[in-house]
């Protein structure tokens, strides 16, 4: 262990914080738009550079114990709980830090172009830096509590950025929806942590940093809470947290609405970095899941189901960003399938490659929307290959990578996951995974065709995006191409030094490529025919909508999941809240008990007042009656 005070880690997280503060306070008045943009991007670049430096230091260490820690100060110490503000760099967090800072830097540069002329330009960049700071804190945290700080910090950043244009109540409530759904997930995360802490404390372990936790994982396995095995319960609860953050079933509803935010935000937060936090957390806590295989099955099944469901929905969407959003949900499903199958390294590998090509696709969509000055409906686009050539080429790379066409990145990581799932024996899950891969290829091809092929259906005058936007996209495209091969060769052994080298069976490769090809061809057939390409076979339906109209409407409306949540959860809860205030609070406690007693005493007072009739003789009679009563009481003592 390099000792606990490796300095570089704190320098990795400080620049974004400085960027946030400077842009936030001084931005509007003192910095020009250009200066603000550069400051923001520079901050993230610094983090990226420091990440690289610390990576090289990490690599110098012997393969077995590659760990760098930096304890800044004791954050909380109350009774048995001591939580240090400590950062940790090991292969897993190094990879994540690189991905986060690298992709963020590119998106920052892109945003300078995209957000040009927006009134809240500096506020936007300060929020982005704010996000990167908390993401890095999340990734580099040495104990789950600090990770939770990062966890909620990024949730807040996404809330602020989704609702960036808050004049529109639609966007504001989308932000609120994202934050609250995250909060529900976070509650699960917290509950899991609480149980973990309780189990550890019961076992006499009081430090909560990951090294000690993984060393005492068997404590959790041994203990049981309310009859259920503790490790399993912690695993599931932490996974609930992950579903909230990484938009898995049932808490994925917020991600499609999160598209209300600026597109670079969608690219950075809702594709590349934040949503992957769930996968990172599971990978980080994997020592726990090893102790509770049942929890892994839960992850596997949920991941698979989410992937399939999202892919189906993506097929029928009209809004370009909605398609990409559901695609992200689906790809995250894949990552969770990988972790569920026990291959967290494969999951992280897919996470990295996905970050590249999904960010690329989102930025491309951004430049399309920017080009068509705000138009997002696929049916109003078309033929953009003529007007936006570079964007077309870059989108094409992203399309190939996502579909899993070799040799691009998508193929390597997705194929690896399918193979791991297959080898882990979950046959049915593998089959659905394969089908989802095909569907993925289908909807991304459909997007490409609708947007770029054929001729332009919209009214706007499409124009190509400036260099400051296309250059980052180019870099990302390069990474999408080269990332797969480099990752397979270098990343996996780096993450799991001891693991045996991966051998890809030829059969598995063939099957996944076939699935991808099927998807693409189907897309060209159906979508191509739909937009009037004459020479297609009769059996091929004009479009999905025509073939199964009722099914199509169901899928287009996202299986009405939002409406179901609204009807089953939100509405009744709101009505119950209203009822608790109106009836028990105002009527029962306040009305009956408090004011009731007051009214009772007042009426008693009035009756006593009425007894004062004013007639002196009546008083005398009361006098005598009282006296006789007392006299009787006195004498009773003697005679009874």
């Amino acid at each position: 262990m390099e000792g606990n005070f490796y300095p570089l880690l704190k320098w990795m997280i400080l620049p974004p914080l400085a960027g946030f503060v400077l842009n936030g306070l001084l931005g509007k008045k003192f910095l020009s738009e250009r200066a603000g943009g550069i400051l923001g991007s520079l901050a993230v670049l610094l983090s990226f550079v420091f990440a690289l430096l610390s990576l090289s230091d990490l690599l110098n260490l012997p393969a077995a114990d590659r760990l760098l820690r930096d304890t800044l100060f004791t954050w909380i110490s109350a009774g048995p709980f001591t939580v240090d503000f400590a950062l940790r760099l090991d292969p897993l967090s190094a990879v994540m830090a690189l991905v986060v800072s690298g992709v963020s830097f590119l998106i920052h540069v892109y945003s300078i172009g995209y957000m040009h002329g927006d009134k809240g330009f500096h506020k936007y960049f300060s929020y982005l830096n704010f996000f990167v700071f908390f993401m890095l804190v999340l990734v580099l945290a040495d104990n789950p509590v600090l990770m939770f700080v990062g966890w909620e910090g990024v949730g807040l950043a996404s809330y602020l950025l989704i609702g960036f244009w808050y004049e529109d109540p639609e966007k504001a409530s989308a932000g609120k929806k994202a934050f609250i759904t995250n909060r529900i997930g976070d509650a699960g995360f917290l509950a899991g942590l609480m149980l973990l802490a309780a189990v550890m404390h019961a076992g006499g372990v009081y430090a909560l940093d990951f090294s000690t936790l993984s060393a005492n994982a068997q404590l959790a396995a041994g203990a049981s809470f309310a009859g259920v095995n503790a490790a399993f319960l912690i695993g599931v609860l932490l996974f609930v947290g992950a579903t909230g953050k990484s938009a898995q079933f049932p808490l994925y509803v917020w991600l499609p609405d999160a598209m209300a935010g600026p597109t670079p935000v969608s690219a950075l937060i809702h594709a590349a970095t934040m949503v992957t936090a769930g996968v990172y957390m599971l990978a980080r806590m994997f020592f726990l899941y090893e102790a509770a295989p049942a929890a892994l099955d839960v992850v596997l099944v949920t991941g698979c189901f989410t992937a399939f469901l999202a892919a189906v929905i993506a097929v029928a969407q009209r809004d370009i960003k909605k398609v990409l959003a559901y695609s992200t949900v689906s790809q995250l499903g894949f990552m969770f399938m990988a972790v569920g199958a026990g291959a967290w390294a494969a999951g992280v590998f897919h996470l990295t490659t996905h970050a590249f090509f999904k960010a690329l696709l989102f930025l491309a969509a951004g430049s399309v929307i920017h080009g068509l000055s705000g138009e997002q409906d696929l049916f109003k686009m078309g033929g953009l290959r003529k007007h936006m050539r570079t964007t077309f080429i870059l989108t094409a790379t992203g399309w190939l990578a996502l579909s899993g066409v070799p040799p691009l990145a998508g193929f390597y990581s997705k194929d690896l996951i399918l193979e791991k799932v297959f080898t882990s024996g979950a046959g049915f899950v593998w089959l659905t995974g394969l089908l989802t891969a095909a569907l993925t290829a289908y909807y991304i091809s459909r997007l490409l065709i609708l947007a770029f092929m054929d001729n332009y259906r919209g009214r706007e005058h499409a124009h190509e995006s400036p260099a400051v936007m296309t250059v980052p996209m180019g870099l990302l495209a390069a990474l999408s191409v080269v990332g797969g091969m480099a990752g397979a060769a270098w990343l996996l052994p780096f993450l799991q030094p001891g693991a045996p080298p991966e051998h890809h069976s030829a059969l598995m490769i063939a099957i996944s490529v076939a699935a991808a090809a099927a998807g693409i061809i189907a897309a060209f057939l159906i979508t191509g025919r739909r937009i009037g390409g004459g020479h297609h076979a009769a059996w091929c339906p004009r479009s999905l909508a025509a073939a199964w109209p009722r099914l199509h409407r169901l899928v287009y409306n996202k299986f009405y999941v939002d409406e179901i949540y609204e009807a089953l959860l939100l509405k009744p809860l709101a009505r119950f809240a209203d009822w608790t205030f109106r009836v028990p609070d105002s009527k029962v406690i306040d009305g009956a008990l408090v004011n009731g007693t007051a009214r009772l005493f007042m009426s008693l007072g009035r009756t006593l007042g009425a007894a004062q009739t004013g007639n002196a003789q009546f008083y005398a009679i009361v006098f005598m009656a009282g006296l006789c009563l007392l006299l009787a009481a006195v004498l009773a003592g003697y005679y009874l």
């Binding site: 009679i621 005598m624 006299l631 009787a632």
Partner: protein, 167 residues
């Protein structure tokens, strides 16, 4: 023969007193009530003498029967309220309550008193001499006696305040 006469006289006087009291309470015209009260007071003073409290009996006639009754008669004439009042008596419920209260008081007190009164009171005993009683008044009870003077003075001033037409 004398003792028999004494006891008969006692019971005669008791009957007179009770009749007088009933008269004061029940007669309708205030003047008749006043006269009935006068009769009661005289009968009581006779009783005192019978019981040996001669000084008290005689003083009762002078002070009580004389001065106080004069005041009452004066008050009745001043207010000219000789004929019976036309106002209706108390509602039945209050009447009954009053009766019950008074009877209750009598019953309870007698209940308390009878348990121990096996003692007897000699009629026409040797009375305490006036000198002896005077010695008490100006001996042990001087403070009380002085207080009485203050009381009467206060009574006069009070009556003047109440009856004064204008300040």
């Amino acid at each position: 023969m004398r003792p028999l006469l004494l006891t008969a006289a006692f019971y005669l006087l008791s009957g007179a007193i009770l009749a007088g009291a009933a008269g004061t309470v029940l007669l309708r015209r205030p003047l008749y009530c006043a006269l009935s009260l006068l009769f009661t007071l005289l009968a009581t003073s006779a009783l005192y003498i019978l019981l040996g409290a001669e000084l008290a009996g005689l003083l009762q006639i002078i002070v009580y029967a004389g001065a106080v009754m004069a005041l009452f008669i004066l008050a009745i004439h001043m207010t000219g309220q000789d004929e019976p009042l036309k106002t209706p008596p108390l509602p039945r419920l209050l009447l009954m309550a009053a009766g019950a209260a008074a009877a209750g008081l009598f019953g309870l007190l007698m209940l308390a008193a009878t348990r121990f009164f096996i003692a007897f009171v000699k009629l026409a005993p040797e009375p305490y001499s006036v000198a002896e009683q005077a010695g008490l008044i100006f001996g042990r009870y001087t403070p009380q006696f002085e207080l009485l003077s203050l009381l009467v003075l206060a009574g006069i001033a009070g009556a003047v305040v109440a009856a004064k037409k204008k300040l």
